[in-house]
Symmetry: C2
Subunit: 190 residues, 2 copies
Amino acid sequence: MGNKGENNRQLIVETADQLFYKRGYHQTSFRDIADVTGIPRGNFYYYFKTKDDILNAVVEARLQTYGEILQACEQTASEPRQRLMHFSNMLANFEEDLVQFGCPIGTLCAELAKDRKDLKQVSRAVFVLMRDWLVEQFTALKCVKAEDKATDLLARMQGITVMASVFDDSAFIRRSLVELQEWINEQTPA
Amino acid sequence: MGNKGENNRQLIVETADQLFYKRGYHQTSFRDIADVTGIPRGNFYYYFKTKDDILNAVVEARLQTYGEILQACEQTASEPRQRLMHFSNMLANFEEDLVQFGCPIGTLCAELAKDRKDLKQVSRAVFVLMRDWLVEQFTALKCVKAEDKATDLLARMQGITVMASVFDDSAFIRRSLVELQEWINEQTPA
DNA sequence: GTCTATATGTAGATAGAC
DNA sequence: GTCTATCTACATATAGAC
């Protein structure tokens, strides 16, 4: 009844999201997306003008997804410190994929920073979303320099993910998560 | 006198090294390397069988380069803690490129982890080189769990680089380096 | 809205003259 | 050793029938 189109569009975006993550943006072709979705290559241009437009839609979808994750962190815990704990638990929750493919957001920005700075700016919106939320939590903890703490936490998680992937070492994630959560517990009003 | 060939080979490797860093492996074509070096595309196959072989040569060259950097850290300082300080100073020394293109080794491994795990294993040799050296330094410091400390330091540096690149923020590198060096100073035998 | 056929460009790789 | 011309495959994107 005319909503088949929207279903197809969503299917393309979800599939592209996964493939951009697990193969990379440049290494994902329309053929790849067509093979997974069963939608012919030519149809893509009914929904999107260019491949870049698909990336824009993927970033929008990720903003939605990670926005919901942040909401879940808020609803599961009322105390900011516990919310940060839940946030950092993402390292454990996505352990297997992180080791194999790295962080979906970090690796996308890293890839696009090299030859598509315009798209990198688009992709980093997901990091901005998370950083802003983290600033709220550190501010609620009455930490000094909440902005710095927020970026520090993201940097710690990115570094852990990069090295875990380099050395195919999921145990490193688990060990580092313990240390990271100790660090979170040390964050006080000063 | 027959050594022109070796010069050309070295020129190809050095140019590929730079381009693989600043554009990425997959996004660097033979045409790109030919344009920079002035060597015709067809000639590449006199020196290398495949593009993958060029990557292997680039990794060998990087092992040489970073081996020399580690030697310099050793020769500049006799105390292990000071050697670690010099090592971490790489963040400041390469600040501009790190913000624009990320870490040459980290981003290469991250890219290849997605669709060329075989080449990722090759590329991570540079990390193994650095980690082994760091283990020596932390062991000389009589730290417990020197292996863990070595990987922790690499992870911290990777995370700092990723976020600095994401937010185009070289000031974040400088601030984080101060905190990282405080951490190095806290590493004691206990 | 859906699909096939195709245009246009470029990738890695090869052949063979010089 | 060096260079040009070319092969095959596949990329994004378009045209137009149904």
